[in-house]
Structures are given as C-alpha cells and as structure tokens.
Symmetry: C2
Subunit: 367 residues, 2 copies
C-alpha cells in the first residue's frame, strides 16, 4: 500500500492506494476515531459490485452503516437529488457527528462531498473512489459540487475529506469508456507537470487500458502525488491550482453541448486538450514536435470517433463565456508551453478560439 499526503495544515490527509484495500476499509477508518455512524453514498452499478465488501469490512470494525444508493450518471449531480438526500438523511436521523463515505466515481464523490459539506453545516467526509478518473483526480483536493442547468459545478464548495482510500483492484471492473475517461486526466498530469510521467504513460498506454495492476498502481500514485503537490500550494484555486484546468475550458463546453451524455468528462478533456494545444501552437508558445506528441497520444486512446451532437463553435464559445473560470465574460485558457509545463490561465481572442474549435472538429473526423 502506498500513502501520499495532501499537506493542508490541520486539514492534511492521507491518500492510500492499494489492490484490495476496500476489504480493510473498516480497520483503516478506525484510525480516525470516528463516531459510530457511517453513511455510504454509492450508485446502483458500484453497489452491485462492491457495496457488500465495503459494508462488511466497516461493520466488522464496529461501525453502524447506512447506505444511500442513487442511479448512475452526471444528471444525479442536481439540486433535486441533493434535496432528496438531505430528506433521506433527516428521515433516518443521521446526526452531525456521522461520516459520509463516497463509494463511486466522480459523480458520487462530488455529490456526496457536497452533501457532506452542507448537511447540518458539514459532517465528516471520506472518499473511496472506484473509477480511474476519481482515483487519479476528482477524489483528491476537496472540490465538491453539483450542476445547474446553466452550467457544470456551479454550486459547490471546497471541502476536504478526512482521507481517500483508492482500491486499484476495483478498476478491473471498469468498462472501456470509463478507462478512457481516467486516461484523459492521466495524460493531463503529464502535460502540465511531468514530462517523464507523460513518457511513461505514452509507452504504457496499452497496459493502462488493460488496467495492468502494477502499471495502474504507479499511475494512480503519481497522479495523486502531482495533484497533492498542487493542492497543498493553492487549495482554493487562487493561482497555481488553475493549471489543473488544462483541457477543461473547451472540455466543459463540449460536455455541456452533448448534455453530459454524448461525451463523458474525461473524453471531453482529451478533446479539449487537443483544441487548447492547437491554441498554444497558434500563439507560437509550443513546438510543433510537442504538439505532435500530445495529439499522437490522444489519438492512440479510443476516444469517440464522432461527437454525437452538432458542432457549433459560436455556441461552444458562448458556453465558455458563462463558465466560472471566465473573468467578466472573458474566456481564459491554461496553455501548454511544452510537455511538462503550462501557463496560468490567460485570455485568448475569440477568433483564435473559433479557429481551434474548427481544428478540433477536423481532428475528430480524422481519427
């Protein structure tokens, strides 16, 4: 088992990574001297596969476990679902000393985290990410939230977990599309911070897609290290943390254009990175060689060969303007200077953005 620490003073916490550690979740949680009541939040897919294992381990360790099982999918990150969950918690008299455990992917983590941040002014929170994307990215760093019909993650908080417990064995059951999503964020970490890691990922892409245990454990651990490094320096995205949004300005707009159905988050990020790398190359900030390397690795991942919605650059730009990363309606981008280094967010003219979106549309057709 590997342990990585997110350093945030009194709110520092460990990320533990290992194969099969879901079965020792109870023993692990005992370290935190938590009150007895735990609430597992999970979705129907994960519940079928792993809820019994986790519950058994927790109960063996003396915890009283209550579970809330929601349908899968991004549409659950809504104010309606949050409202129903508050009601369920209150009906079952869950008090403010309880601990909410998010057992699932990014949707479950973001939603359960938002509930933990706001139920009775905040209760203990624990992450057990079950997807590659959640293990390498979304479960670490304390961003929690839900969507609004006018934009993704528009309602939320920074709320750090007490710990993250990532069982890499659970990744074996991931469908291909979920694997691809995680790889999107994995590649992002290479581009923004670590050229050597980018090369490792490029060479091991087949192994990662196959969820080869040793390689996947290395990948999860390195991404968590990189994210912990960033979050420890800038918890609330006042400066450096914004680099984690590479690929996300275009990516979020693509997700929204497809109503969060046509493209999943990680797929949209893969395509977003291509468009944003193109922007950097037009601004003569990155070498043609590095552009080629980034595009090649994205093309080697089985990303969707068609977007599944009609592509309108104007509409996508309109969405970006409303994104919370925009400042006074000006769209900003984190741009790569080379593999391993990116800029802080910078404004880009809308003509250039339109050009990058046209390029992306052609890139997808060429795949």
């Amino acid at each position: 088992m590997k342990t990585i620490t997110v350093s945030l003073g009194k709110r520092s916490y460990p990320i533990c990574i290992g194969a099969g550690i879901r079965n020792s979740a109870g023993k692990f949680l005992q370290r935190f001297h938590l009150p007895r009541h735990l609430v597992i939040v999970t979705d129907t897919i994960v519940a079928r596969l792993y809820l019994d294992d986790v519950r058994r381990s927790l109960e063996r360790a003396g915890f009283a476990v209550f579970s809330i099982v929601i349908p899968p999918g991004e549409s659950q990150k809504s104010l309606q679902r949050a409202g129903a969950m508050y009601t369920e918690l209150l009906h079952h008299r869950i008090g403010r000393k309880a601990t909410i455990v998010a057992l699932g992917g990014g949707v479950v983590g973001d939603l359960a985290g938002f509930i933990a941040a706001t139920y009775q002014r905040g209760v203990n929170f624990m992450q057990m990410p079950t997807t590659l994307l959640a293990q390498v990215d979304s479960s670490v760093g304390g961003k929690v939230g839900i969507n609004h019909p006018l934009g993704k993650n528009m309602i939320g908080a920074f709320y750090q977990p007490l710990s993250v417990l990532a069982d890499t064995e659970m990744l074996q059951s991931l469908p291909q599309r979920e694997r691809v999503c995680g790889i999107g964020e994995v590649i992002k970490y290479g581009i923004i911070l670590d050229k050597r890691f980018f090369e490792y990922v490029r060479k091991n892409l087949t192994n990662i897609l196959a969820m080869e245990p040793t390689v996947v454990a290395n990948v999860v651990a390195r991404c968590c290290e990189l994210k912990a490094f960033v979050v420890s320096r800038d918890e609330k995205e006042e400066n450096m943390r914004a680099i984690l949004n590479f690929g996300h300005t275009v990516g979020h707009a693509l997700e929204q254009a497809g109503h969060y159905r046509s493209l999943k988050h990680g797929e949209a990020i893969l395509l977003g990175m291509v468009a944003e790398t193109f922007l950097a190359s037009r601004l003569k900030m990155i070498s043609a060689e590095d552009v080629r390397r980034i595009e090649e690795v994205v093309a080697a991942v089985p990303v969707p060969r068609s977007l599944g919605f009609s592509f309108s650059a104007a509409k996508l730009i309109e969405t970006m303007r409303n994104d919370k990363k925009s400042v006074a309606g000006t769209v900003r981008f984190v741009l790569p200077e080379r593999v391993g280094a990116v800029t802080l967010p910078m404004p880009v003219k809308e003509g250039a953005i339109a050009g990058a979106l046209d390029y992306l549309e052609k890139f997808v057709k060429r795949l």
Copy 2:
C-alpha cells in the same frame, strides 16, 4: 463608530457599528480591494427603506451593483429559493469574483450567506444586518444556512464574512415584534457570559425597546464583543460555541411547532430560556434568586401572550430529538448555573423536559 474584531487568523474580520454608516458603505468596502461587481441580497421591506441609500453609496464608490430582492420571512430560507437565486446569478453572469452583500435581518443573512458559500464554490460575502437580532447575533460568526421541512438550518455551512457593517440607525424603523426578537438574544448574552451586561439590559429595557441610540449602540457592541470572543475560540462549535445555544433547544422546537409563523426566532428563544432555566433549577444547578431574575426580565419584554398553536410536550420533545444539536437522539441542553455562566450541552431525561415544558405553558398563561 466602534470596531470589534473577530479573530480567526487569516480569516479575521471587523464588525463596524455606528449610526448612519450605511451611507458610507461604499467608502468602507473600498478598503477590501474587492472586484467591481457586488450583489445586494435583500427583502422587499428592507429594500423599500434602505436599498437606495446603500446602492447610492456603493455606486459612488465605483462598484457595479446588482440586487436580488426576495419576499420577507423565514419561509424564504428554502432550497427552492436558493435554487432560484443561483439561476438569477447565472442569468446575470455574476462571476466567482463577485461579492454578495446581505442587507437585511437573519433570514436574508443566513440565505445570502449560504448562497455566497456555495455559488461557484464560494464568493466574497459581506453582512449589513438591519435588525437588532441580526446585529447582535446572527450576522456575526459565519453560521449560514437554509431550512428543510424536517428542521431548521439543516442545510448550511460555516462561512465567515469579510466584514459586518451594522448601522444602528436602521433599527429605528423596526416594528415592535422585531425589537422583541433582538432582545431575546441580548438577554441570552447576559445570562451566558456577562452578569454586569445582564443588569445593564434589565435596567435599560425600556430604552432598548425604544431603540434609544446610545443604549442600543452599547448593546449591539457588547453582544458583538461577546459573540466574537466565543467564535474566535471555537469557530465550528466543537465545544465552547455551543453555549450560544442556551434557550435554543426548546426555542427551535417552539418555532417549528408554530411553523415559523406563530413565534419568531427571538420570541421562541425568550420562552426557551424560561423552560431551560426551569430545568436547571429542577436539577438544583441554579439559585431560586437567579431563576426569578431571569423570569422577571423575560416577563418584562412584550412576548406573545399566547403561543398560537396547540401545545404538546410530546411533540416538542420529538422535534428536539431530531434537532442537529442532539447526539444519537439524546436531547441536550445548555443550562444556566447563575446569571453570567452556563454549562456546555448536557443530556437531560425526557421526564424532566416534559416537566419544564408544562411549566413553560403555565408561565405563558400567567403573563
């Protein structure tokens, strides 16, 4: 103008108290080097009286002001209203660098604060309390939140403002019932922490009810000092802060029994303090002399002479059990040991609680 500091490390903030300071709100806010966009949240009653003054002052100082005006009343502290406010903010493209200014009483402060805590993962927040209750209590300390049909303030956060600006001149326009509500919390501060202040309040009750400027300024300042003292030592109610809940265990249950209409918060707290003082006297924790002093001051305030709902001790206890201050279904009380000192929350047998509620019912009839 008096300034009191809430000491919370990097998140410390000033409370400024003075007559007419709403008209220099703009100049005051310039100190904080905020981005241009401000959103005033207020209700229709306060808007009619003071919105123009505040807006004018802010605009003169160069701010761009957008306002959201909601109906008055506790029923606005709902997930539905919060949802509508997120939509309005997004429609008007309010970004995450904006500042939300709560101009109003406790309802506006709690609701606007919850929006500030959760809109785009948190934006700047400023309090301009307009009622006695908000100036002496609810605007200070960072508790924000909304209600759930199953309980008050069940959804919320700890989210500190950048500053509190309390214009005591605005209290002149308060209706009698609102004055009474504020006095409930004022008396509470005397009982829990400061015997001398209790005596001052007792002697000046008529002046306070008349909102006599000098007396009211003294009262607001002293309550803020006492609250700042408590909050600085225990921001998140892990121990000492719980003493602020004296009168609130019974008070919240009474409010809920009257559907937040029959009794207002401060009125319910006044009655709650009588019931909880009776509990302390039954447990032989407080002298008969001090019980009499507490009851006399409550009786001297024009509290409602009838509750306006049918009184059921069993139902009230059931509500208390579901209160978030309960631990595993056990109702706990902050009990006075004398005027000026209270205990931390302690469990009390339900038979004793029922006795105290019977006593309260008779007390109200005797008024």
